[in-house]
Subunit: 635 residues, 2 copies
C-alpha cells in the first residue's frame, strides 16, 4: 500500500483569505473522500502573495492566522489526511527590521488537528529561507527569512533545513518541504534541496506561488530536474493559478504543477491556467514515486503568450467587474490584435470598436478597421474628431490671455506636434473614454512595448485605459499574435491581411501617414535594440552597441538582419544620431509616460512597471561610449 | 593642534556619476585649500541612490567604479586630506542573490592616493550592514549586506564593525564609520554605533543619503543623540541635498547634516536644502570635538512642508527642463495653493492659470479664480468647456453603433455621472494639456491626498499632469499651506479669503455646487480617518474604527472633534454606510487611479506610490468587522 499524495493546484485570490480558505476546506473535503493522505497546497495559499503593503495591516494578518487555524482544526475531521499549505506566520513577540510584527512566509503541515514539525525551529511551521528581491519580488520588505532567524538563534542555518516526517495508515515519508525560491538555488548561499536530502528527505516538495514569464518553465525544469537528480530523490512542485498584481503589472500564475523523478525527468504535470489535482503514490518500502506518467505536450512561445494574455485579461476584467470593453480601432496591427483578443474573451456583443478619423487618416486604414470589426462581429462606430480638434485649436489660439503683471493680452500658437497630441488626446480621453463609460465597462490601452520603451505615444491619448494587454509585447510579438489569432484562435481571417502588410503609422499629420513617412521606428532593428537594453541578462548600454556596430557584429549580437541596419543608417553619424535620440527618450520622457501608464499584463522577463523599476533621470552615456563615438566619427 | 573635519553637504544628482564626481573633486580642492584633514561626503555620492534598476546596467556600475578611482587617485595631490565618500562597490568574482555581479553600498576612505581599511574585510571599503527594505527603500534588491558577507566568510558579523584609523599631521582619530541605516538601529539585530564604540571608535561618522519626511529629523535627533550618548563619543551625520525619485514619488533630500556631542546633544547643524560645509575640530589628545556651536532654530511643521514642496517641485522642473507651468484654476483651495506655489517658484510670467467654466460653475468661484490670478500677477485666461462637452455628448449619443453580429444599429445614452467625467476630462486632457503645450512647459495635477485616497477625481481629468505637488497633503494641510503662502511667503493676501471659506465642490452637476451639496467628504473627519488607514504606525482597519465608534472613542483615537462625527452621521447605519463606501473605493477604483497618477512630491511617512505600495484588490473586511457591524446594527 502506498501513500496517496495530491497536489492541489488551486486558484488563489490575492487579499481574500476568506475565499481562499473556503476553497482550501473544500479541497480538503474532496481529498478526504478520495482517500488522499497528503494534500499539498501552494505558497501563501491563504492570503495570496502580491498584496503591496497590505502586509502591514494587523487586522488582515490576524485574519490570515485565524483562517490558517481553521484549516489546521479542520484536519481533525479528515481522518489521516495531512494538509500542507502556505500562509503568513506572525510572531508578535518579535520584530521585523521595519519595526513591525515579525512575519514569515511559511509552510504549515497539519494532521489530526495539530501541526507537524521537524523539531529544529522554535516554531511549528517551516520558514522560507531564500527571499527573492528582484524583478517583481519584494520578499525582504515583508518577511523575515530563515537565515536572519538562524543568526538571531545563534544557529547554523544549514542545520535548520530538516525533513518533516508524515505518517498515515502506518506508512511514512520524510518530506523535504521547501517554499518556492528555496528550490531556485543557483545564486543563493545554501542549496536547500541538497541539504534536505542530506538530512534524510525521501521526497522533495516545493510549494510555490510563481508567476508565468516566457521561458520560466523550461528554466524550472532544468533547475528542479537537476536538483532532484542531484539529490537522487523525486520532487513535487505545487503552484497556484489565478492572477495577482503589484499595481503597475498584472501577473498570471500558470499552475503547471508537476512531479520530477529521482533521475530528474518530468513524470507528470498539471495543465496551464486551470485548477487541477495532480496525484502521485509514494511507496514507502521502495522509496519510490508512482505517477500516471502523463505529461503535456510542449507549447510554442506564441501559444504560451496568447494563453497568458487571454487568461490575464479575462481574470483581471472579472476581478474589476468589467464586462464590456471599448477599443479605439485605427486600422493598424496593435488595435486590431487588441480588439480580437477582447472579442475572444468577452464575445463580440461586449466589445465596442470605434474608428476616429481626422483628415490625416487614409481610406485604407478606415476600411481595414471596418473590415476587422465586421469579421469579428463586434459593435462598431465611426466618430470623427475633426470638428472637436478644430474647436480646441480655435479656443487655444484665439482666446486672449491676460498677463496681470505686464498688463497686456497675448495669444498662443500651436505647432504641428502640439496638434498631433491634441488629436491623440481627443481620441483617447474624449471619445474612447466617453464611449466606454456609455457602453458600460472600460477601455484598453493598445500600446506595445516598443512604443512604450521610447514613449512613442501620447499622455492621455493612447497611453490610457484600464489595462495594457499588449504592453509587454514587442512589435514583432504583436504581429505573431495577430497571425496566431487568425490561424489558431478564430481559425479564419478575422484580422485582414492588410493589417499585417500596411506600414505602421500614427496618421497624425500629413508627414505621418501610411503612404508617406510612417512610424520613425525600424521595428525589426529597434525591437531587438530596445530588448537588449531591457531584457538581456547583461543589460547592454550604448557603449556596447557602438562597439558592436564598429566591429560589424551588431546584427549578430542583437539577433536581427544586418541589411536592416545598413539600410536604415547609411553612415555612422546617422546610426549614432538614432541611438542617442532613443536612448535619451527612453530614460526621460518615456519614463514619465510609463509612470502614468495603465497596468501591463506581464509576460516577459522584465515588464515595465514593478518588474523593471525606473527613476526619471537625465540622460547618461557611459565614458566608453564617448570614446567610441569620437573614434567612429573621426575615422 | 586639532584635526579639521568637514562634512560636505553636497547636492547629488541621481544617475550622474560624471557630474557628482566633478562636484566631489571641486570640494576636495576647496578642502585642501582650507586645511581640512578629513572630508566626509554622503552615502552613494557618486551614483546617487534612487536609480530604479539602473543598478543592473554593467556599463553604469563600471563607470561609477572608475569615477571612484579618480577620486581616490586625486587624494595624491591633496596633501594629508582624507576623503570619505559613498559609492557602489562591485566584486565581479561574486554574485548577488539575483545572479548579477556582487554589489555593496560602501564607504571609501582615501588618503595619499590609497584606500584606508580597518583590516577586517577582504575589501578596502566599509560595507553597509543594515539594508532598509521598507517605505521607498529597496536596498536588498541591489546590494549585498555585511551580514550576508559575514555568513559567506563564516565570520561573526559583529566583529566586522571596526573603526578606521585616520592620521594627518601626526594627529590620529579612530573613526566609527557607518552608512545611513546602520545608525537607525532600533529594529536591527546589531547595534552598529555601540559595536564601533566598543571596538575603539573615538568619533562616530554616519554618511547618509536620507530623504526628508515630516518628523524624520526629530526622530533622527532622538536616535542618533541617544546613540552618541550611549557610546559616550560624538557623532557626525553627513547627508546630501537634492531630489531623487523612484518613478511614482519625488523625494527631497534635506541635508541637515549635524554634529552630536558625546552627551547626545546637538552641537551644530547645516541648513536645510542648501549645499554647505559643516566644520568641526577633533582634539586627539582630549578626544573631544569642537564645533562653532551654532544650531538652527526649530521649524514648524508647515514651514518644513512648504520648503520641501518648493524645493522638490523646483528641482524636479529644473531636472525635467520645464520652465513654465499651466494650472487649471477652479476657484477652490487646491488649485489656488498649487498656483501660488508655482508662481513662487517660477515667477508670475511663467505661470498660466486657466478657468474653465461650464453652466455648473458659480460666478463666485469664477471671481475667486480671477482674483487669485490677479493677486499673483500671473497669466490668466478663461476657456469655457460647454460647447465642447455638448459636442461630445451629441457625438456619443447620436452616432449610430452597428452590431455586426446582430445586424442592427443602436445608440448609447449618457448618465449624469458620465457627463461629469466628460467635463473633467475635457478640462484636463483637452484644455489644460493643450494650453500647457502651447504655453511651453507642463501642467500640474492639483489633487490632494484625501481625494487620491478614495479616487475622488477623474482619470485623465484632474488626475493628470507632470507632477502632483500637493498629492501628499491632506486637505487640512492644503488649507494650512494656503495660509502660510499668504502670511509668510507672499506676505500679502494672494489667495482671497473666500478660497478658505467656500464649500469645497467639484461643480460638475447641479447637485454638486458650492451652493448645494458640495463634496461628499467631511474633510475634518475623513482626513483623519484615511490617515489612520495609511500613515498610522499600526494601520487601522474598519474593525478598529467600528470598535472605537461603538465605544464612543473614535474622535479621540483619530484626533478629530466628536461633534463632527455625530453631526455627519446621525446613526450607526449611516456611519457604517460611509465607512464601507470609502473603504471599498480606497482598495479598488482609487488604486487604479493612483496607478496612473503623476509622480507625487513626498513629504509624509507614507506617500502613495513607491512608498506605500499597492495592489488592485477586491474589498475585504476583517472578520471582527462583520461581528461588530452585526452587533451595532442589532442594538
Amino acid at each position: 500500500m502506498a501513500l496517496k499524495i495530491a497536489c492541489g493546484q488551486i486558484e488563489i485570490i490575492a487579499g481574500r483569505p476568506d475565499l481562499n480558505t473556503k476553497k482550501i476546506l473544500h479541497h480538503m473535503d474532496m481529498a478526504c473522500q478520495n482517500g488522499i493522505d497528503i494534500l499539498l497546497l501552494p505558497e501563501l495559499a491563504v492570503p495570496g502573495y502580491f498584496l503591496g503593503d497590505l502586509w502591514e495591516q494587523t487586522a488582515f494578518i490576524e485574519d490570515c492566522a485565524a483562517y490558517g487555524d481553521e484549516i489546521i482544526a479542520a484536519t481533525e475531521n479528515c481522518g489521516e489526511l495531512c494538509v500542507i499549505f502556505g500562509n503568513i506566520a506572525v510572531d508578535n513577540s518579535k520584530r521585523n527590521e521595519d519595526g513591525r510584527a515579525r512575519k514569515y512566509n511559511a509552510a504549515f503541515a497539519a494532521q489530526h488537528g495539530r501541526l507537524l514539525t521537524n523539531g529544529t525551529l522554535p516554531y511549528d511551521f517551516i520558514v522560507k529561507n531564500a527571499l527573492p528581491n528582484y524583478r517583481e519580488f519584494d520578499d525582504n520588505r515583508h518577511f523575515y527569512g530563515l537565515r536572519q532567524l538562524a543568526l538571531e538563534l545563534d544557529k547554523q542555518v544549514a542545520g535548520l533545513h530538516q525533513p518533516l516526517t508524515v505518517t498515515a495508515h502506518g506508512e511514512t515519508v520524510k518530506l523535504g518541504l521547501m517554499l518556492c525560491e528555496d528550490g531556485w538555488t543557483e545564486n543563493y548561499f545554501l542549496d536547500v534541496p541538497q541539504l534536505l536530502a542530506q538530512h534524510g528527505a525521501e521526497l522533495l516538495c516545493n510549494i510555490s506561488c510563481s508567476p508565468f514569464s516566457i521561458n520560466k518553465n523550461s528554466k524550472r525544469h532544468r533547475l528542479f530536474g537537476s536538483a532532484a537528480q542531484k539529490a537522487g530523490i523525486p520532487l513535487i512542485y505545487c503552484n497556484n493559478v489565478g492572477i495577482q498584481n503589484n499595481g503597475k503589472n498584472i501577473f498570471t500564475f500558470d499552475g503547471c504543477s508537476c512531479v520530477y523523478g529521482s533521475d530528474g525527468w518530468l513524470l507528470t504535470d498539471a495543465p496551464m491556467y486551470a485548477e487541477a489535482t495532480l496525484c502521485a503514490g509514494w511507496d514507502s518500502k521502495a522509496k519510490a514515486i508512482d505517477t500516471s506518467g502523463i505529461t503535456s505536450d510542449p507549447r510554442s512561445e506564441i501559444d504560451e503568450v496568447y494563453h497568458s494574455l487571454r487568461y490575464g485579461c479575462q481574470r483581471f476584467l472579472e476581478q474589476a467587474g468589467i464586462g464590456k470593453m471599448t477599443i479605439g480601432l485605427s486600422g493598424g496591427i496593435d488595435s486590431a490584435v487588441t480588439a480580437a483578443l477582447f472579442v475572444d474573451i468577452l464575445g463580440p456583443d461586449n466589445v465596442l470598436l470605434v474608428n476616429m478619423p481626422s483628415c490625416y487618416n487614409s481610406p485604407m486604414t478606415q476600411t481595414i478597421a471596418e473590415q476587422t470589426a465586421q469579421s469579428l462581429g463586434a459593435n462598431y462606430t465611426v466618430i470623427p474628431i475633426t470638428e472637436s480638434c478644430l474647436h480646441t485649436r480655435e479656443q487655444l489660439t484665439q482666446t486672449p490671455i491676460h498677463s496681470y503683471r505686464q498688463h497686456r493680452d497675448f495669444q498662443l500658437t500651436i505647432s504641428p506636434l502640439i496638434y498631433e497630441n491634441i488629436q491623440s488626446r481627443d481620441r483617447g480621453s474624449r471619445v474612447v473614454a466617453g464611449l466606454a463609460a456609455a457602453f458600460g465597462g472600460a477601455f484598453s490601452c493598445n500600446s506595445n512595448k516598443t512604443e512604450l520603451t521610447v514613449g512613442y505615444a501620447t499622455f492621455y491619448g493612447d497611453i490610457c485605459g484600464a489595462l495594457a494587454p499588449i504592453g509587454d509585447l514587442w512589435k514583432h510579438h504583436v504581429y505573431e499574435l495577430g497571425r496566431y489569432l487568425n490561424e489558431k484562435v478564430f481559425q479564419r481571417q478575422v484580422l485582414p491581411e492588410a493589417v499585417f502588410t500596411i506600414r505602421p503609422s500614427a496618421e497624425l499629420s500629413s508627414e505621418q501617414t501610411v503612404g508617406t513617412g510612417g512610424d520613425p521606428l525600424v521595428y525589426p532593428y529597434h525591437d531587438k535594440l530596445f530588448r537588449s537594453f531591457l531584457e538581456q541578462w547583461r543589460k547592454t548600454s550604448p557603449a556596447e552597441i557602438l562597439l558592436w556596430y564598429s566591429e560589424g557584429t551588431l546584427a549578430e549580437h542583437l539577433g536581427c538582419e544586418a541589411d536592416i541596419i545598413s539600410e536604415a543608417f547609411p553612415d555612422a553619424r546617422s546610426f549614432i544620431a538614432d541611438l542617442e535620440h532613443w536612448w535619451k527618450l527612453m530614460h526621460t520622457l518615456a519614463v514619465a509616460k510609463r509612470i502614468q501608464a495603465p497596468p501591463i499584463v506581464s509576460i516577459t522577463r522584465r515588464a515595465y512597471g514593478y518588474d523593471h523599476r525606473e527613476a526619471q533621470l537625465t540622460p547618461y552615456f557611459p565614458r566608453e561610449y564617448h570614446r567610441l563615438k569620437a573614434q567612429l566619427l573621426n575615422d
